[in-house]
Symmetry: C2
Subunit: 300 residues, 2 copies
Amino acid sequence: MIAVTILGNNSALPAHGRHPTAQIVQTRNHTFLVDCGEGTQLQMSEYRIKRSRIDHIFISHLHGDHYFGLIGLLTSFGLNNREHDLHVYSPEGLEPIMLMQLPASHTLLPYRIYFHTLKEEGLLFEDDHLSISCFKVNHKIECYGFLFEEKAHHRKLNAEAVKHFNVPYEFYERLQEGKDFVTPEGKVIPNVTLTLDPKPGRKYAYCADTIYYEPICKHIEGADLIYHEATYMKDEEERARARYHSTTIDAAHIARKANVGKLLIGHFSSRYENLAPLENEARQVFANCEAAIEGTCYIV
Amino acid sequence: MIAVTILGNNSALPAHGRHPTAQIVQTRNHTFLVDCGEGTQLQMSEYRIKRSRIDHIFISHLHGDHYFGLIGLLTSFGLNNREHDLHVYSPEGLEPIMLMQLPASHTLLPYRIYFHTLKEEGLLFEDDHLSISCFKVNHKIECYGFLFEEKAHHRKLNAEAVKHFNVPYEFYERLQEGKDFVTPEGKVIPNVTLTLDPKPGRKYAYCADTIYYEPICKHIEGADLIYHEATYMKDEEERARARYHSTTIDAAHIARKANVGKLLIGHFSSRYENLAPLENEARQVFANCEAAIEGTCYIV
């Protein structure tokens, strides 16, 4: 299961009580932060996100509405006496901006930050249950999307077959790992006879700020959920292009082409107070679409 | 008249929906911003403050909870196509922190910022109606308070005397400016006969972050309103001292010694969800005290 909590769904200029981009991605063992606009730590407090659990932060690009909240979060970690390592992933340039702000307040952080510079597409993080990779999107400045992929679960026991062949309880775990069973008489019962295919791992893609850009489809193909920006409605297509942003229709076409399960749109221009028209417009192209709402947790 | 709107009343760690320090000081002709913690521009949007009217920003010191919202505000001014000059006053070190964040997003601001470095106490701003000066407080790092002083109003007409001496309407403005009146017969009627003393100008002092520090009293003496931090209650006096902060009792003693009209306390530690006990404790020493509440406008 992957749970995505929206902390900010607005574009750069704050309006209508909406905040700049940030979201929390929670998986079985981890809490990740994706982008960190101004006010992110305040939103975390508002929505009861446990900050101390965050060990990996992914910043898509260095427009301020995606990272101006980071320095406040890093120093708050310090005030909370955090001691465990933190990993921050971003395009080049973030580390000096963060580090030069500490001496002005004579701050020495009590924990270590590892800054990882994104330079190309590929794997960023992996453990037994999950992998996270980045892919290039097409924005005014260097910008990356992030793909969260759960690994396939263990094989499922075929209860009838297991009973039929009298497989002892102690062997169940090995069946789930794909092992064949050998009966006391020496007969080999192949694993496929005793188990069913596992549930595939869930897949969530955060597509960051981007103009309509089909090359991302190969990365997000078949994802259960994607978040794609839709800064403008279709009638502002020209403005969207000029600013390397997408419209609702662009986001919906990407979702359709990539054959994803569900589309969340966000990064809304401050010109839109009511988001229903954006949602409705996108649904004309891709029905399973929702406008991302701050404080809402979307479960995949 | 001076109007002080609180945008943030919390200390560094955000909690209970409260924000780090920022406040708007409005006078007859100006809107000033004093400190600019993270989320200040969002709070301005929440409380309908017209950002574009702000031409002078005063930053007391370079702890992040007093300036981390500035870079977002400066870039938002740019996105709003601001063209008129902005003046920013702070201790040394702020300018490079702001300016180094712009190239990362290829940002060129369409307006000019003048950074003024605070190095000693004295006058920062003056026009016909108002003067603003800074004074040193005593915090872990270099830190300044700000004093806003209206100039005395014009003299008030003594309606009876004006009628008695048949002063023509056209001369009223000159009376208010202190001129004597000469009758058609050549008799000089002294101004003091025709006018009353003006209402004194209002005086507001923002005392920033400080340990209990009596030398500030001479600067804020007789102010109509002061804002003095009260991060802790009296039972945390030791912690307050160690961190160069004040208690409620400290703030109240300063208000009493400086013979001010009213005390606003703020910069509350996140340990206090309910602010009434802080207010009550301070009132034992100085009765006319209120806990500063976000979104509230205090009129002097």
